[in-house]
């Protein structure tokens, strides 16, 4: 059954959209990532114009993240103080990001920028996470092996504005989460993602947060960054398709609830290894697409209408 999307101006099968939402929502629940890094390319693949796909994914992320946060919050796995500080940086970053998005669209290079950003970030992150999680699994097999130090001090801990985060049992500079939120905010606006797949590893490895607190807190800040991106895209580029976003949500929120339950049954390092594999697969596919000779040598980019 086809449904006409008013802003995207295309007709798509309603069940394809619902299924896509459910699959991405499941992943989002398992990993605490928004799933936007899969949703946006898949939407483009089924015929949604790229600018509309990016903006509507952000809209969809708002709902998916609300649902996800509630599920984690009931388990007490959300650090609200940390989430708020990440959000302040994220909202500021996403304003700059939407500005850059509009700029690159005018130059006709937005699709290249999106692809390159994905390849670089996903490639590096997937590789790092993969290695780390394999090491962690090997350590567990050999109980006699040396344990990692609980807390390592680096120059990052010498920064001013030290703040205590009780929930995460951390005492670190507030500048760390603010700048992390800011960089992820910029990227999320350009790439149509919540940035969870960047946020989650950074929160674990850079901030040193306990793994259990990470998905819920990351989702909390994604709500606000995605809401900000949706507003700005709707205002400047008129590319938010609310009908598309709602359809994706219906499938997505249900998928996310099941994903969250499934996620709690998996061990941290297994979870990270799985996420690393998905991230690397997407990066490899995108890199491949960039280097092979395109089927169409000439293209007419769909501009934001």
């Amino acid at each position: 059954m086809d449904v006409y999307l008013p802003i995207a101006e295309v007709s798509l099968d309603i069940f394809v959209l619902l299924g896509l939402g459910a699959a991405v929502g499941f992943l989002s629940g398992v990993f605490g990532v928004g799933g936007g890094f899969l949703l946006t390319p898949l939407l483009i693949l089924i015929g949604v114009p790229a600018p509309v796909a990016v903006a509507s994914s952000a809209n969809q992320l708002v709902g998916a993240s609300v649902s996800g946060v509630l599920a984690h919050w009931r388990r007490g796995h959300v650090d609200f103080k940390m989430g708020f500080i990440l959000m302040v940086g994220g909202v500021a970053g996403s304003i700059l990001g939407v500005y850059l998005f509009t700029l690159f669209s005018r130059l006709g290079q937005i699709e290249l920028v999106i692809s390159l950003a994905y390849v670089l970030l996903l490639g590096v992150l997937g590789f790092m996470m993969g290695i780390e999680s394999v090491r962690a699994m090997l350590r567990q097999r050999r109980p006699g092996a040396a344990r990692r130090k609980l807390h390592r001090h680096t120059w990052l801990h010498g920064l001013p504005l030290k703040t205590r985060f009780r929930k995460s049992q951390l005492y670190i500079s507030a500048l760390l989460p603010i700048s992390l939120g800011f960089s992820v905010g910029v990227l999320s606006a350009i790439m149509g993602i919540g940035g969870g797949f960047l946020m989650v590893p950074a929160m674990i490895y850079t901030l040193g947060m306990p793994t259990s607190m990470v998905p819920g807190t990351s989702l909390l800040q994604i709500i606000f960054v995605a809401a900000n991106v949706t507003l700005l895209q709707a205002f400047t580029n008129h590319t938010v398709d609310a009908v598309l976003a709602l359809l994706l949500l219906v499938g997505g929120v249900i998928g996310a609830q099941f994903g969250t339950r499934f996620g709690t049954q998996l061990r941290g390092e297994q979870l990270r290894f799985l996420l690393a594999l998905i991230v690397l697969a997407v990066a490899a596919q995108l890199a491949h697409d960039l280097t092979i000779r395109p089927k169409q040598m000439f293209v007419i980019p769909v501009e934001g209408r």
């Binding site: 059954m1 086809d2 449904v3 006409y4 008013p6 802003i7 101006e9 295309v10 007709s11 809209n59 969809q60 992320l61 708002v62 709902g63 998916a64 993240s65 609300v66 649902s67 996800g68 509630l70 599920a71 009931r74 006709g108 290079q109 699709e111 290249l112 390159l116 709500i223 809401a227 949706t230 507003l231 700005l232 895209q233 709707a234 205002f235 008129h238 938010v240 609310a242 009908v243 976003a245 709602l246 949500l249 219906v250 929120v253 249900i254 996310a256 609830q257 339950r261 960039l290 280097t291 092979i292 000779r293 395109p294 169409q296 040598m297 000439f298 293209v299 007419i300 980019p301 501009e303």
Partner: protein, 247 residues
């Protein structure tokens, strides 16, 4: 381009064909003068019918509203395929289809076809900035190829059938992705490879119902639309988590 400009252009075309209409008497009309794009829209077909005052061939050209269009050529930059160079054309019809009662080559001379811009290969677009003619040709051909692929430039495939000597009809199928706006349906009567009569009829393609309202609201009250989109998404997220509360 605004609706008013479209109508002004439609009027100009009608006036241009006025003297022709006097030379040969014929009438043509569409089964419907509007295509409404609704939620379940998967394309539409419009029947064109008419009668001539004697033997002759009929050619019909359907043009969508004109707009600016940029074509990019991909090039390899540091091992990566990127949009390397572009040409922007000012007056590209968003839809173009031709139908004829006989193959075009048999019914009109090449010069006449070029003059009336009949047939996809006779389309010419004005580059917005000065471009070498060779380059403009390459990019024009590419634009036509891309639009053909997208189904919005339809090469001469639709046949006009005659019922007897004077009555004719043709069915135009519009794909689901047709652009909105005022279309011009130009019907030409051809005798001895020359155009002897013409008539232009408008066809309005517009969104109606909920979709039209959503799209209209999104453009008029962009900020409010964005806020509502965010609110609805948040609400949906909360609602969906309710059944799982005790999980």
């Amino acid at each position: 381009m605004t609706i008013r400009q479209h109508l002004a252009r439609a009027l100009a075309l009608v006036l241009a064909l006025w003297p022709l209409a006097a030379r040969a008497d014929f009438v043509a009309d569409l089964s419907s003068h509007s295509i409404a794009i609704t939620t379940g829209f998967t394309g539409a077909s419009v029947v064109l019918f008419g009668a001539t005052d004697g033997p002759g061939d009929v050619i019909v050209v359907v043009r969508g509203p004109e707009r600016e269009q940029t074509v990019w050529r991909k090039g390899k930059i540091a091992g990566i395929w990127a949009n390397a160079e572009s040409v922007t054309f000012a007056n590209v019809p968003s839809f173009y289809a031709v139908a004829s009662s006989k193959p075009l080559d048999d019914s009109i001379s090449a010069a006449t076809a070029a003059f009336y811009r009949i047939g996809v290969s006779n389309l010419k677009f004005e580059p917005k900035s000065t471009v070498a003619s060779e380059r403009a040709r390459v990019f024009t051909d590419a634009l036509i190829a891309v639009q053909k692929n997208a189904g919005v430039f339809v090469p001469n495939q639709i046949k006009i059938s005659f019922l007897g000597e004077r009555l004719f009809r043709a069915t135009f199928n519009f794909p689901a992705n047709i652009p909105t706006g005022v279309y011009l349906v130009q019907v030409l009567l051809v005798r001895d490879k020359d155009v002897v009569g013409g008539q232009t009829t408008p066809l309005v393609v517009s969104k109606v119902g909920v979709d039209a309202a959503v799209s209209d609201f999104a453009h008029r009250n962009a900020l409010a639309y964005g806020a509502i989109a965010v609110g609805m998404a948040a609400m949906a997220g909360w609602l969906a988590s309710l059944p799982f509360r005790n999980a």
